[in-house]
Symmetry: C2
Subunit: 285 residues, 2 copies
């Protein structure tokens, strides 16, 4: 049976999502918990957004294929539904910087990565001493100067739609850097934080952090609002773009189509985003 | 000159507010930063709410008397107003789990502790797996069972107004435990967290955490809503009341009267709340 797990994590003490030898990663932590609770050696999870070291998640989604008899055995003899019991057992084993929010059975056509319609990230900045909250310091960037949100939003508008975002991506051989930006806007929230909402069909490696770095330069007045569009036209990485620190970035939500459309969506995504070489890292940040 | 400083801190790695030999406390950390930046040995700060070990603050207020020439020297020759420059220098010296939000000159009649009209605390609980956010785990209590907010609010209503809160206080010889509860209510916020807003003229030691512990027992159905009122009538500490962990508690705001009424407010507070013995710890939690 295929399970969909929704989870959040504090990325501070992880070397990112992807399993790496000898390092503490979210994928390894989650797979180890699944192996322990399900008494199996083959828990391979696939995630929607492969977050970098230091990046957080509130709405990460993964799928994993498990044997029904293992779930039944793990759930035990309690009265609660077996997937609720499994969720509780997994949270009991996981460290407190990773929490599972939901556990559901899905059709085999569901693929956490390839079925996704979009990923939504938030980048949070405290650009005012009054808005710097020590309780939020692990997921909010403290910035010493006030930012001009109007200029940043003016620049952001020019990045909406389908573009080759090579200027903001670490290039990978054979992988396309064309993405569709669905939402990119800056708001000031009730606590005075400056928040970027960034939503696209998928992201290349480092793309959100490079976009935020570009817009920060505009918000400080170091560059004019037109600079973002000029960079886009370069279609190649520009060293003038600073990649901002990872800790301000959080994967907030992943959007999927209705169940009936899952298979078709996965087919289309696979075809457009893995034309030549390996599939690793697509949709990552 | 008398300065009012507004600050926030993550209480996780502090042994509470009050200076103690050999321990890391917020008071000592702040006084050391003031001494360093103002090049003085006599920075004695007085706070509005003496938070316990592990308790946080977003809206703590302190006052400190400093020499004007020390402020001028510390501010340096920049173009920004001297108190803004002082704020920046202090934040540059303080560790990142303490942040100063504002620094203002006040009349000498202002006393951070005795001029305060009320203190407002929040206690945050995630009583639903979907609401447990690893990024907030240091200031939100994770609770394994869903709470009945209606029952908790019914019980809370009976605690409003002036009462002897001895049932919820660590008793101190000679100190009154009569307080005026101005606000005590439970709400579920947009992210699904259960939040208690607790506002009173002042609090005895452990009072908020004992009140929350009492109301939690009611919210779980282990006690009827009438239990809170029954405890109040005992006028003595009851061992059936559990004091909840400190990390869910945050001092959010302190209210003061207009400047013209500061002196009168301090006179009244001093008279009612320090009748016999020492003044330490009044208004603390």
């Amino acid at each position: 049976m295929r399970l969909r797990l929704d989870l959040g994590y504090d990325g501070t003490d992880f070397h990112g999502w992807a399993r790496q030898p000898e390092l503490r990663t979210v994928q390894a932590t989650l797979e180890d918990a699944l192996s322990l609770v399900l008494r199996t050696n083959s828990a391979d999870v696939t995630c929607a957004g492969r977050t970098d070291a230091g990046v957080h998640a509130r709405g990460q989604v993964v799928h994993v294929d498990v044997r029904e008899q293992d779930v039944v055995a793990a759930a035990g003899r309690g009265t609660s539904p077996r997937l609720e019991a499994l969720l509780r057992r997994l949270n009991g084993v996981l460290p407190d910087d990773v929490r599972l929010h939901r556990c559901r059975e899905m059709p085999l056509t569901f693929d956490a990565r390839f079925s996704a319609l979009w990923r939504r990230y938030a980048y949070r900045i405290a650009d005012d001493p009054e808005a710097v909250d020590p309780l939020a310091r692990r997921h909010v960037l403290a910035w010493p100067r006030r930012l001009d949100l109007d200029a940043m939003n003016q620049a952001a508008t020019g990045l909406l739609g389908e573009h080759d975002f090579a200027a903001f991506c670490k290039q990978r051989e054979g992988a396309t850097t064309t993405r569709t930006m669905l939402e990119l806007r800056w708001t000031r929230d009730a606590s005075g934080l400056t928040v970027a909402t960034v939503r696209a069909d998928a992201f290349c490696h480092n793309m959100v952090r490079a976009l935020v770095g570009c817009l920060l330069a505009i918000g400080e007045g170091r560059r004019p609002p037109g600079w973002a569009g000029e960079l886009l036209l370069l279609r190649a990485r520009d060293s003038a773009v600073t990649v901002v620190p990872p800790h301000g970035l959080t994967l907030e939500e992943v959007g999927y189509p209705p169940d009936a459309a899952l298979a078709e969506r996965a087919r289309v995504t696979r075809a457009t985003r893995t034309p030549l070489l390996e599939q690793r890292g697509v949709g990552s940040e």
